[in-house]
Structures are given as C-alpha cells and as structure tokens.
Symmetry: C2
C-alpha cells in the first residue's frame, strides 16, 4: 500500500519575497511614480527589513525592468517612454491574443463563469467611477485568462509586461472616453469567449489592446512634447536646479 502525499504546502513567505511584492505593487499602482528616486535605507525603514533583503528585491525588480539604475548608481522607478509603451503593447497584443485563444480551447465552465462574473462586476464598478478598483478588476480579468491559457511561459511574460504598463493603464482609465470604448471591446471579447469562438476571441483581444495602445501612446507623446517644451533641453542632465 502506498502512503498518500500529505505534505503541507509550506508558505513561510520569505522576507525578500514580501518586500518584492510590496515594492512591485507600490510601483505598478503609482504609489511610487515613474522617475521617483528609491533609496535603499528608506526602503528598509518603510518595509521594516534589512538592507540585504531590500537589495535582493531590487535586483529582481531590475530584471523585471521596473526600476532603472542610473550611471551614478542611483535607483529610480522606470519611466516608460511612448516608444517603450508602444512596443510593450504590441507584445501584449501578440501574447494575450494567443493566451485568450488557448483559454477558449482549454477553459472549463468554471473559468468562463468566473470571467463572466468579473465582467459583470466591471460594468458595475464602471458606473461608480472608481478608477482604482476598476484597474484592479481589469487586472483580475487578464489574470484569469492568463491562468487559463495553460502556458506558464506565456503567462509569466504577459504578466511582466502588464506590470510595466500598469500605471499607464490606470491613468488611461481616468479618461472616460477611453473607458467606454474599452468596455465595449470587453463586451465583444466576452461574447466570443462564451461562444467558445477562439478565433473571434483572439481578434477581439487584439483589437482591444491595439486601441488601448493607440490611446496610451498618443497621450504619452503629448506629455513628452509638453515636457520637452517646458524644459528646453539638458533637463535630465542637471540634477540640481530641478526644485
């Protein structure tokens, strides 16, 4: 007779993982906005952990492109340029349309029901106008699809990209026009998923992200032009006279 596998799923949550999560969240939801300087000792205090752990977390954030190390070694929250955003959205388009295609092929009824539920909740929250909550739920929406795509490789990569543009997404949602459009695109997407039409679902996802890309890139370009006009040149070089 065989013994069953009774092992407890150990979850001693490493300190560095905890720190990593906290920092990643802070960045992705804009609590630490792009360009903000991150000082190790301050992070230690904010997180209540040692420098060792903070530094290990920072190395992971660095590999995830969420922070940048300047030439003077100082660490700042990464700034996503309009060009970067464009490429990231192109990649999301490829990855997530593939992911949703697989989701439709693989998902059981429960997964689809979950998606439909999130979608309904989204509608409700939309009417309330709470952008923060909306962003979180939209995140759940994507997450459900990624989880159901059956590919850890693709899901991981898509998640990483999503995190990088999460702050931009949130700000983009603040514009009511884009929100309405996005909701319609989601409607189409959900419809295709419920009908288990993989092809249509992939197309819908692709269209949705393509539109989101255009909106965000346009907005970023405008901001970049404004910034360039306001500070004629060499703005980034002189670190002194910024205040």
């Amino acid at each position: 007779m065989e013994y069953q596998d009774l092992r407890i799923v150990e979850n001693p949550t490493l300190v560095r993982e905890h720190a990593l999560d906290k920092l990643r969240n802070a960045i992705s939801r804009g609590l630490y906005p792009p360009g903000m300087r991150l000082v190790e000792r301050e992070l230690c205090e904010a997180l209540g952990v040692s420098r060792t752990s903070v530094r290990e977390a920072l190395r992971q954030l660095q590999a995830e492109n969420l922070i940048e190390v300047g030439k003077r070694r100082n660490i700042t929250v990464a700034i996503v340029s309009s060009k970067d955003a464009e490429d990231i959205y192109l990649m999301r388009e490829m990855l997530e349309s593939l992911a949703v295609q697989r989701f439709v092929a693989l998902a059981d009824e429960n997964a689809i029901k979950k998606l439909v539920r999130i979608h309904k909740d989204l509608r409700k929250v939309l009417n309330k106008g709470d952008v923060r909550e909306l962003a979180i739920m939209a995140g759940e929406f994507y997450e459900t699809i990624l989880n159901g795509s059956g590919s850890k490789v693709i899901a991981d990569m898509a998640r990483q990209l999503l995190t990088r543009v999460n702050y931009l997404r949130m700000r983009s949602m603040a514009e009511p026009h884009r929100l309405e459009d996005g909701m319609h695109e989601w409607d189409t997407l959900i419809e295709a998923i419920v009908e288990r039409n993989a092809e249509a679902a992939a197309k819908a996802m692709s269209a949705h992200l393509s539109n989101a890309r255009k909106a965000i890139v346009t907005k970023l370009q405008q901001e970049e032009e404004l910034a360039a006009a306001a500070v004629p040149e060499r703005a980034a070089v002189s670190s002194r006279r910024s205040g």
Copy 2:
C-alpha cells in the same frame, strides 16, 4: 554654445554584474547543465566573490527563469520541458520575425554587411563542424538583428528567451541533419534581408524558428518519454533513493 557631453563612460564593472554574466554564461552554454544543483558557498569560491554578490546575481537569474528554487529552497539550473520549449519558440517566432522586419526597415548598409559576413563565417564554421563555435556565431547573428531592430523592449525579451533555450539550441545543432536545414533557412533569410524585403525576411525567420521548434520539441519529448520509462514514477518526489 553647448557643452559637449564629455563624460567618461564609466565601466567599473560591478562584482555582482560580473558574477551574473559568468553564471548566465555557464548555464546557457551547458557548463552548468539543467537540473544541476547550485550551492551558494561553492559559487562564491568558484567566482571568488562574497555571498552577498552571489545571492544578488542569483536573484536576477531567478527573475530570468534560468534557475529554479525548489520547495526546500535549494537552487537548481532550470529544466526546460518540451512544453516550455514549445512556448518559448512560439514567442521567439513572434518576436524575432517582428524584429527582423524592423531590422530590414531600419538597418544601414553596415549592419547588413555585418550580417552577411557572419552568415559567410557560419558557412565556413559549419564545414569544420565545431558546434560550440557555431552556436556562438549563430548567437551573434541573432544579436545583430536584435540590436538593429530599434526596440530595446523587444530585443531584451527576445534575448531572454534565447538564453533560456540556448543549451537546447546547442544540442540540437549537434544533429547534422537539423544543421543543414537550418543553414538553408538562414540562406533564405539573408537573401530576403539583402533584398530589403521585410515581409519575406519576417516569413523566413518565422519558418526557421518554426522548424527549429519542431526539431527541438520532438527531441525533448522523446527524452522525456525515455526518462519516464526508466524511472517508473514518483521519481522527483523521493530525493533519497536516487543514488
């Protein structure tokens, strides 16, 4: 008048970066093969650096999916399953066909000449049959295209994927049949690039990676079946009776 930017490009090569490079290379070229256990203190000795630096390097490798941390916290070189390999190659197909498309659109004569030169060298090395050197040059080939794609975001991601399957690529090249095919595919690709036919180049790249994918996935599946047959079941669970 503007002051020129005279700053010296500082290159104090951080110890942790050095360690990271060394480890990444060791893994990607199979010196540390998949599944190998990595012990921090041994790495310290091998690299001649402190545990602090090794651990920071390990965190980056972890974020790059080149190593895995087991439930017992032990670190091993990541094993790429046939399924992972398939997904990675699908992503490479998407990314690198896009990259080469852009390369053709953007590249100056020099970049193209460089590519042609590498291609010629590849032919020569192919006849000599030195697989290691071949793999390195093929890497340069891809790297040149990625650098010329004009997108840091895409290039980074593609590089990361390439690193993950680099060991598999090397082993795949050991099979002469696949090598010949691959060379022909490269011929087609180079031809399209020289003619500055972006569309054709993208197609050629896609076809090449698709073929490479099939070859590698098939091979991996065979190996996995063999391994499964040799060790009936629960092989991964009992860490004791393996020796």
